[in-house]
Subunit: 276 residues, 2 copies
């Protein structure tokens, strides 16, 4: 039987002993000068980041918007193919925030899984579960559904109404629909809500953004977010890792930042398990 998307993530975590997901969010104005001069600057930059961190991570998460903002669709496609070819054990999550009425969502699933060949995509549940479903029916692939996002404006809709908020409705639905092909986005910047989502969805993996530049607290993330078996967390950092280097040896700074974060996550996980 082929592995599920959750199975891929578990295998990658077992191999690397890492909860770290490196977000590939290239920005023209922050690239090292050598990459800026390359024919395909985003690709040149991300390939080096990928090679330097593949052993330290359980997933890569390219940010669709970064590539789309300059029309660099081919660079995104080539990058994902490069990861599969050179680091076949590392799943690729395309952070694309897709979601539309059912038959249109099916076209987006085609974009994500066929055109870009990602293992999973982030999916927006506003339109309803028919928007999510097309991303869940391809064997080995998955949908990572927005639940409680890390941005300051998220409570306005997601924590509405008080008492029975939308984000917990999404968490309950994911727990009910889960067949090894789902995960939830829960931001590190809202640790109490993270615990509430874990209570509603005990076994669903979380993709947790917001630890690096957005400064969420790792200890709280692991204390509140781990599943009963000590797994269940994929914690992503983007800018704080990929732009950590300076000068010609910039890539060493990237590897160091990723190593430090991976180790911090191991410690936070072990502390959370010990405190039970």
């Amino acid at each position: 039987m082929p592995r599920t998307f959750q199975g891929k993530i578990r295998d990658a975590q077992d191999r690397s002993d890492s909860a770290l997901c490196v977000g590939l969010d290239p920005r023209s104005d922050r690239l090292p000068s050598a990459c800026r001069r390359a024919a395909k600057p985003f690709l040149a930059f991300c390939q080096q980041v990928v090679d330097a961190t593949a052993d330290l991570v359980c997933a890569f998460k390219p940010q669709y918007a970064c590539f789309a903002a300059t029309g660099a669709f081919d660079e995104l496609r080539t990058l994902i193919a490069y990861i599969h070819e050179n680091h076949p054990d590392v799943p690729v999550i395309l952070d694309a925030k897709r979601g539309d009425i059912g038959d249109v969502s099916a076209l987006y699933a085609k974009e994500v899984f066929e055109v870009f060949d990602a293992d999973a995509a982030t999916v927006n549940p506003y339109l309803g579960w028919d928007a999510v479903e097309p991303f869940t029916r391809v064997p080995g692939r998955g949908a990572i559904v927005l639940c409680h996002t890390s941005n300051p404006g998220s409570p306005w809709l997601q924590e509405f109404p008080e008492g029975a908020p939308v984000y917990l409705r999404v968490a309950e639905r994911a727990a009910k629909e889960d067949a090894g092909n789902l995960a939830l986005v829960v931001g590190a910047t809202f640790p109490e809500q993270l615990a509430a989502v874990r209570a509603k969805a005990p076994d669903v993996p979380f993709l947790v953004p917001g630890v690096g530049a957005q400064s969420g607290d790792l200890e709280a993330v692991f204390a509140n977010g781990l599943a009963a078996d000590g797994s269940g967390l994929v914690v992503s950092a983007s800018r704080s890792v990929i732009f950590a280097g300076r000068g010609t040896n910039w890539i060493d700074g990237v590897a160091t930042a990723a190593t430090v974060l991976r180790d911090d996550m191991r410690r936070a996980r072990d502390a959370a398990i010990a405190a039970r």
Copy 2:
């Protein structure tokens, strides 16, 4: 002072006396055979649809997913440039359902307004208003925010909770933030909810999908959705218009379907105004 996005729509409606927006949703398996053999099949098909219907519409709405599902990004870009060049009075709404945390949403706004040069995009409010805002600050461009969508699964999140549903929270916010640069997506398949949104957002234009293939009722849409001044509705139809033709003269069927719908909409509008 440059026109706002709403001003562009109003001007296009005054010129055409039409509420019809033709959705450009090409699908490989439904193209006329002559288009299928073209080097750029989606482009060849859509250019003909655009030329045959430009006088009958107040907007065109290319569906991002249709192009993305086959990686036809260049065809989408060329199509929008073609509309601006040949039909400069017809605004282009890119149906892309974008939305992310603020600085990432700003990259999506760059994709929509710079890479694809659309006048507006559909935007998903789940992440909060910081996801919408980047689409509202470019002069002359606009954000069309999902409010109550036309699909059967939409009530699960959008009508939750009973009494003070999410979709009316979105409508109220849009009414408050509107500066000529906003519209709301409200599906024709939910006519009572359309009236409720109009009550909360008296002056915000609506983009109304769901009349053709999804068979919403035009009379109810105009009776419940018109603004006080008799404007405020952009009603979109895609498959029921663009795939209406057969054989070598397929484009005549497209023009006829668009004309019939435009006329039906005029009648429905006039009846709604007369019934006040």
